[in-house]
């Protein structure tokens, strides 16, 4: 459709250029700039997507807007008062001024109100450094206090639930946490009580804050009112670095940021991915980082004694070679649904292509609880990848136990020991003692590694580069956030070295070469992308978290 000088422009035409807009979009003017956005967009989104930088506390892209904080007020031509942009849908030909003197002034006054009763806690507050109140005050006000009245005293340490502590004085009453419980966890556990400057956040009658998504309230809290019992007082946030990765807790594969410092992981934070986890992740997933630093197998063991890598690999090779020479039909391999696609591909290549073994089993954590929000019953991050790479050749752990008991299997190579012995991890679940030879490539000092003749240390998910395939079949990249524990090596690397000791040729130089080869061979990975190289960003430089 072409606009000619004789025909009037269509009603939703761009006011400055006169060009017609698509029927489901709206054109408005923000700070003198003509902007076209989809119909139904909130004004604050239209502003911030176009660089206007409107501040906010209570608005959250993943939640409804109650417009309680009044921090996103902007001037709209024709309106008698500034309007809350988080609560105002865009309208045609709207003329918006985000930095008019009046808008700036009312926002400053709101900040002043918010700060009147805010405690002087920055030096001891966990949120300091990623606090939105600090950021907005310094960006938009930065004036000294005009008021030296006595601040209202409230409770400093309120135990809300198993994971969370509330400091009512720090709370700025934005109600984001209430909406997270209501809208994400679908569980009304938090409420506001009292009025005016005595208003406080509290649990709903008869409730504690114990829903499986409760730690999301800590993420959305713009100040340090809600803090995680696990993280509080453990680290100043600006000292942390962030590495993007994927949670290994279940088959959902929530995208996370691993926050770490000096080789130690301190917390996991959900990373926005609208196709998988949106803004959120479950509490259970947040604690998967703990296993990275607990009971790790740090050095290769041969006969229970720490030895050099060369010696351990030679011993493992000799044991396996002897068993293969004696009777290859009695040799089996256990693959893990906790391993990356790259480790699984290297193991499958060694097992099926080079050694021609017939006995392969799939291990993994036992099934657990699930819901229809995020949590999956399959507690392994890469079952889909393992099944696809195994291509029907993998049998179950029950088959493994039966084969060992019947004597059909005398030699076993286990790569990844999570869940091999079942949920309780009791050594009796699998009759490992009946095996003649047991070689383990594992992450932890558990009963499986303890029963092995040779145990080789494997990197945990936070130490490895690779990909997981989630329950939707999406191949997602994980990245090494911290250096490996002790002498641990990635699985593909150990298997390359082991292959050499077994007389097979399988040379992989880094995880990306494994990925590239796997991608060319495996149909489920054909659209996968390795992504660009990523150096950890220190949060103080990131500028994204307050």
């Amino acid at each position: 459709m072409t606009a000619t000088p004789n025909t009037p422009p269509p009603p939703n035409a761009n006011p400055t250029t006169g060009a017609p807009a698509a029927p489901d979009t709206i054109t408005l003017i923000i700070d003198g700039k003509s902007v076209t956005v989809p119909k139904g967009t909130m004004l604050i989104e239209a502003c911030n997507q176009n660089g206007a930088d409107v501040p906010f506390f209570c608005y959250h892209a993943g939640l409804t807007s109650p417009a309680v904080c009044r921090q996103c007020l902007v001037d709209v031509k024709g309106q008698p008062k500034p309007v809350p942009s988080c609560y105002t849908p865009v309208a045609d030909k709207m003329e918006v001024f985000t930095k008019s003197p009046r808008a700036l002034d009312v926002r400053r006054q709101m900040l002043e109100f918010t700060l009147v009763n805010h405690p002087i806690d920055c030096p001891i507050c966990d949120k300091a450094g990623e606090c939105m109140l600090q950021k907005h005050y310094f960006d938009w006000d930065a004036k000294l206090a005009r008021n030296d009245g006595v601040k209202v005293k409230k409770d400093k340490v309120v135990d809300l639930g198993p994971h969370i502590v509330l400091d009512q004085e720090r709370c700025i009453l934005c109600t984001r946490c209430i909406r997270v419980c209501d809208e994400v966890a679908k569980n009304h556990q938090l409420e506001m009580a009292q009025r005016g400057d005595h208003e406080v956040l509290t649990t709903a009658p008869g409730h504690r804050l114990d829903n499986p998504y409760s730690l999301n309230t800590v993420d959305v809290c713009p100040v340090g009112a809600l803090t995680s019992k696990d993280f509080r007082f453990s680290m100043r946030v600006w000292e942390l670095s962030t590495t993007p990765s994927v949670c290994p807790g279940c088959a959902t594969g929530c995208n996370v940021e691993v926050h770490h410092s000096r080789g130690k992981v301190y917390r996991l934070i959900p990373r926005l991915n609208m196709a998988v986890n949106k803004h959120w992740m479950c509490d259970e997933g947040r604690f998967t980082y703990k296993r990275v630093h607990k009971d790790r197998l740090a050095a290769p063991l041969s006969g229970g004694v720490p030895v050099e890598w060369d010696r351990a690999l030679a011993d493992a090779g000799r044991l396996l070679r002897a068993a293969l020479d004696a009777n290859p039909a009695e040799v089996g391999v256990v693959m893990s649904a906790q391993s990356t696609n790259e480790d699984l591909y290297a193991l499958a290549k060694l097992t099926f292509d080079h050694l021609g073994l017939g006995k392969a089993y799939l291990s993994g954590q036992d099934q657990g609880w699930s819901d229809d929000i995020l949590v999956s019953a399959d507690k392994n991050p890469n079952t889909a990848g393992a099944m696809a790479i195994g291509a029907g050749r993998l049998r179950t752990l029950l088959d493994l136990a039966n084969d060992i008991k019947s004597g059909a299997l005398t030699t076993l190579l286990v790569v990844g020991t999570h869940g091999v012995l079942g949920k309780d991890g009791a050594p009796g679940a699998l009759p490992l003692g009946k095996l003649k030879t047991l070689v383990v490539i594992g992450t932890h000092r558990d009963a499986v590694a303890g029963a092995a003749q040779v145990a080789l240390p494997l990197t945990e998910w936070a130490e490895a580069e690779g990909t997981f395939t989630n329950r939707l079949g999406m191949v997602q990249r994980i990245r090494a956030a911290v250096p490996p524990a002790g002498d641990a090596l990635p699985g593909w690397d150990i298997l390359s070295n082991l292959a050499r000791n077994l007389g097979a040729t399988m040379e992989f130089t880094d995880a990306k070469t494994v990925f590239t080869e796997a991608k060319s061979k495996l149909p489920f990975m054909k659209d996968a992308d390795w992504g660009r190289r990523y150096l950890p960003v220190q949060l103080r430089f990131a500028g994204t978290r307050g």
Binding site: A128, A145, D148, F541
Partner: protein
């Protein structure tokens, strides 16, 4: 002595030779013990090398035929280190550039950041005057140290003690104003850390009067001292062309006749309000460099006296709360000031993205800071142009042809400061 250079091809065989003594010019032209060029190391740790620098020279007897000046022994990663420090945290690093006149480094760095921030024109006047005063005081200590140390290396130990005595009086005054004699860190982005103490100006004037007396004593000891003059006059000649080609500024550049002084040619702070002269040399030898420094001390005192007479009352830090820390009492008692303090200390002052080259007249000449900001609280790049770097570089050209004994006064008069040259 120039006869030494005029080798008569009839008399001197192509072989190298050493000169054993020189009672008579004739003696020197007589070929005697045949020998080979000898490599000679001076430094990096040598009592007469005040600065860790290494000179690998090739000598023919006492005469230097080539000199290779090797720097870097005091490299401290100033520039890389600055990239992970906030804009304010860099001040202590700049103290350690030219550590004889740290205030001048503070000024050079602060002005570069202020220009990037766009507050260079709105600095409080009092802060600018204080900067001029402490800067010129530091220039005096810089020159006193250079003169005293060089004189001592030529045997005039008394001059060294006199010069350092005077320097000490000034250091005590600096201690009064900022708490440190040397590692001052007195400047801040947007002003200075604290006001001048009361009566400080009067104490300074009294000290300057005593420094004047010391300067008279030093002049009496050196100016007509035969030993001193013999080792300074005509030694270490630098031509104006070489000075320009190498980019030499400051007293060394001015000794060659180049009347370039950033304070005069590109006035900054309030230097355009003072009446002072820029001394220049006529020959470009070591004695000219000595004389220029002596005169610069006198001119610095003139500037200080005028500044103390003109200095207005008022604030000494920029009023912008996003640049200046709130008062401590406010910080501990109000959340607003606490947040401002937190953001300024932990995040740093947010300097708008851009790049700048800013230059000031430091003790050794044009001290330049090339700074790139990406909008965060830390510089993306912070490069220093050290004024003694070109002066040290030219030694490789100046030294050949001189005697080993000439190295000491020539190097001394370049005033190479390891902290500044190597960064």
């Amino acid at each position: 002595m120039s006869d030494l250079d005029d080798h008569d091809s009839n008399l001197v065989p192509p072989k190298r030779r050493v000169v054993l003594g020189f009672q008579d010019v004739e003696d020197m032209n007589v070929p005697d013990l045949p020998t080979e060029p000898l490599p000679l190391n001076m430094g990096p740790s040598h009592p007469a090398m005040h600065g860790t620098v290494r000179m690998v020279m090739e000598v023919e007897g006492e005469k230097i035929s080539s000199a290779d000046i090797q720097i870097g022994y005091l490299h401290r990663c100033f520039e890389k280190e600055s990239e992970s420090a906030t804009w304010t945290q860099i001040f202590p690093y700049t103290d350690r550039l030219n550590y004889i006149s740290p205030m001048l480094n503070n000024i050079g760095y602060a002005m570069a950041v202020e220009k990037l921030l766009g507050i260079a024109d709105t600095l409080p006047e009092r802060a600018q005057y204080i900067r001029v005063i402490v800067g010129e005081v530091s220039r005096i200590t810089d020159h006193l140290t250079c003169l005293g140390a060089s004189a001592m290396e030529l045997g005039a130990f008394t001059v060294f003690l006199y010069a350092l005595k005077a320097r000490e009086w000034i250091f005590e005054l600096l201690e009064e104003i900022c708490g440190a004699r040397l590692t001052v860190s007195y400047l801040r982005i947007g002003g200075v850390a604290a006001d001048m103490p009361e009566e400080w100006g009067k104490e300074l004037l009294a000290v300057l009067a005593r420094v004047r007396e010391v300067m008279v004593d030093i002049s009496k000891l050196l100016d007509r001292n035969r030993i001193f003059r013999d080792r300074m006059d005509g030694i270490g000649l630098i031509t104006r062309e070489d000075a320009l080609a190498y980019g030499i500024t400051g007293p060394v550049g001015r000794s060659t006749g180049l009347a370039y002084d950033v304070r005069k040619d590109h006035p900054y702070l309030v230097y355009d309000r003072f009446d002072f002269d820029v001394p220049v040399g006529s020959v470009g030898d070591n004695f000219d460099r000595y004389a220029v420094r002596v005169e610069e001390i006198v001119q610095s005192m003139r500037i200080i006296e005028q500044a103390l007479a003109q200095i207005p009352p008022g604030r000494w830090m920029h009023p912008d709360p996003r640049i200046t820390l709130p008062p401590k009492a406010e910080t501990y008692n109000s959340i607003e000031a606490m947040i401002a303090h937190f953001k300024l200390i932990m995040d740093g002052i947010h300097v708008p993205p851009g790049e700048i080259y800013s230059y000031t007249e430091a003790g050794n000449g044009e001290l330049g800071f090339y700074i790139v900001s990406d909008g965060t609280g830390r510089p993306w790049k912070c490069r220093v142009r050290p004024p003694c770097f070109p002066a040290t570089a030219v030694l490789g050209k100046v030294l050949p042809g001189l005697f080993i004994a000439d190295v000491v006064p020539t190097f001394g008069m370049m005033n190479m400061i390891g902290g500044e040259c190597d960064r």
